[in-house]
């Protein structure tokens, strides 16, 4: 799915991390952790091509990011589900329309049944017709996850998807992601929540990556 080769990134004020090499294989399950400001969101942005690394090579779904045209990038994004840390929505569309957008905006059919089921699972069944600005913080995160998974992506990137959620709901969302993973989707979740990581490790084969001090290391032993 995603291969990083000696990737470094730098926003202009010194490198954020250096010489990162990882491979996220099909069907894998990874957590990404590290202190606030370490570069987790940056790494995710490199994965879905919003950023281009200042050094090294990122290939997404087998294609070198640098050599992809804008339309190839768009086509690739259709196979990636993304939960942003600041879940952005189209504020003039209802929650249901926003969740369905990855399909409708790319001309794919939207099965209404799936949409209803999904909204029910994340606990937004009765908020389907609300506008995003009226959602609570946690509701936004749930809607963002629903939007990320509706297209049955082959890769799911989630940036802090449970920061505003209580433990019960966090588990529920994690179960959804694990279910998707079981069906073949590669999953990468950036999170601070150690409970979430522990819970996941007791159910699936998950690797934990940790960014700190400009390096990416495999963690896990300490959990």
């Amino acid at each position: 799915m995603i291969v990083f080769e000696d990737v470094s990134h730098d926003y202009g004020g010194g490198p954020l991390f250096r010489d990162v090499s990882i491979t996220l294989g099909a069907g894998s399950f990874h957590f990404l952790t590290g202190p606030s400001g370490a570069g987790k969101s940056t790494l995710l942005k490199l994965c879905y091509g919003e950023l281009i690394p200042s050094a090294g090579r990122v290939s997404v779904m087998g294609q070198d990011r640098r050599q992809m045209t804008r339309d190839e990038m768009a086509a690739t994004r259709q196979r990636i589900g993304i939960v942003h840390q600041d879940c952005r929505f189209l504020d003039h569309l209802s929650v249901a329309q926003n969740v369905g957008l990855p399909l409708t905006a790319t001309g794919r059919p939207l099965p209404q049944g799936d949409l209803t089921d999904l909204l029910g699972w994340v606990g937004l069944g009765d908020r389907a017709d609300a506008l995003p600005p009226t959602l609570s913080g946690g509701e936004r995160q749930r809607a963002a996850l629903a939007r990320a998974v509706i297209g049955a992506p082959t890769l799911l990137l989630a940036d802090e998807p449970t920061g505003n959620l209580d433990w019960d709901m966090s588990q529920r969302l994690l179960l959804l992601m694990m279910e998707l993973n079981r069906m073949g989707t590669a999953v990468l979740i950036a999170t601070h929540d150690m409970n979430l990581i522990r819970f996941a490790k007791s159910h699936v084969q998950a690797r934990v990556l940790r960014i700190s001090g400009r390096k990416l290391t495999a963690a896990g032993a300490e959990l």
């Binding site: 804008r70 768009a74 993304i82 189209l90 504020d91 003039h92 957008l101 990855p102 409708t104 001309g107």
Partner: protein, 292 residues
């Protein structure tokens, strides 16, 4: 693009909001101004044409000849005038007319009949007018007593003024066109820029540039069409009512569009729409190129 995809592309751009109103309203305002500039240009052209026509009627040929020559020379001159292109009509003034004409200068009591007054031929020239130099030469060759007077002295400042008026109206129309282009381009860009969020989200969900651009361009040019149609309608209605008001406010009486000139107004809305279309398409691709 299928009907479904079309509906969706309409959906992704906010249906209302200040940026949409901006396009509609600036298109309306500019269409409104354009209608009046057009009316100004057309009225000026009509005014100028009216003056030229009035003035053209005052050209004359004066024949001073001994009484026995007079008839022959008059006939010769009339023949020359008849065969000169650019002269619509030539008519010998009778003495009553001539007396009336001279009364202002000579008073009613002068015994004109007893005097060897020259004969006057009144000309009605076409819009283009005759070749004046050639006409003078031919007349002096055929009838040595005939003098062509196109009253240039009187005419020049008025014709100049009319031409000046028309030029002004065209300059005004041009300026409004330029400002209109700027304002609509600006409004379309503002509309797009203020939807940066929408564009970024759609792009991240894997929508193609063409899809996003088309959604915006369609919405913006439709709004421009609507606004422009409204502005044209309001201005047109005002223009329709104005001559009625003008009957009390004298100077405005002749202002406005007549008959087929009204059709010119139909050009404004599609033109505005085309302008908005071009501007928003260019801006859309420009904005999109800045989004990964």
């Amino acid at each position: 693009m299928s009907r479904d995809a079309r509906a969706i592309s309409d959906l992704v751009v906010p249906r209302s909001g200040q940026s949409v109103w901006l396009v509609t309203l600036s298109a309306a305002a500019m269409a409104f101004l354009a209608v009046f500039a057009l009316a100004l240009a057309v009225s000026a052209a009509q005014l100028a044409r009216g003056w030229s026509a009035q003035l053209a009627q005052t050209a004359t040929v004066r024949i001073s000849a001994p009484p026995d020559e007079m008839e022959r020379q008059t006939a010769l001159v009339l023949e020359v005038l008849r065969t000169t292109p650019g002269i619509a009509e030539a008519r010998v003034m009778d003495s009553a007319e001539q007396a009336a004409l001279l009364e202002a200068w000579l008073g009613p009591d002068l015994p004109l009949d007893a005097l060897p007054i020259p004969r006057l031929i009144e000309l009605l020239e076409t819009d283009a007018g005759p070749d004046r130099q050639g006409l003078r030469l031919r007349l002096s060759a055929e009838a040595p007593g005939a003098v062509y007077d196109d009253h240039t002295r009187w005419r020049r400042p008025l014709v100049q003024a009319a031409a000046r008026l028309q030029a002004l109206a065209i300059v005004a129309l041009g300026l409004i066109g330029v400002v209109m282009t700027v304002i609509i381009t600006l409004a379309a860009s503002a509309s797009l820029a203020s939807n940066g969020q929408v564009i970024a989200v759609l792009r991240l969900l894997g929508a193609r540039d063409r899809f996003i651009a088309r959604a915006f361009v369609r919405r913006i040019s439709r709004r421009a069409l609507l606004g422009s149609a409204l502005g044209t309608l309001v201005a047109g209605a005002l223009l329709w009512v104005l001559p009625d008001l003008g009957s009390t406010v004298q100077p405005l009486a002749g202002f406005g569009l007549q008959g087929p000139s009204w059709a010119l107004l139909l050009v404004i809305p599609p033109l505005t729409m085309a302008l908005a279309w071009t501007a928003s398409l260019a801006t859309a691709f420009h904005v999109l190129r800045g989004v990964t």
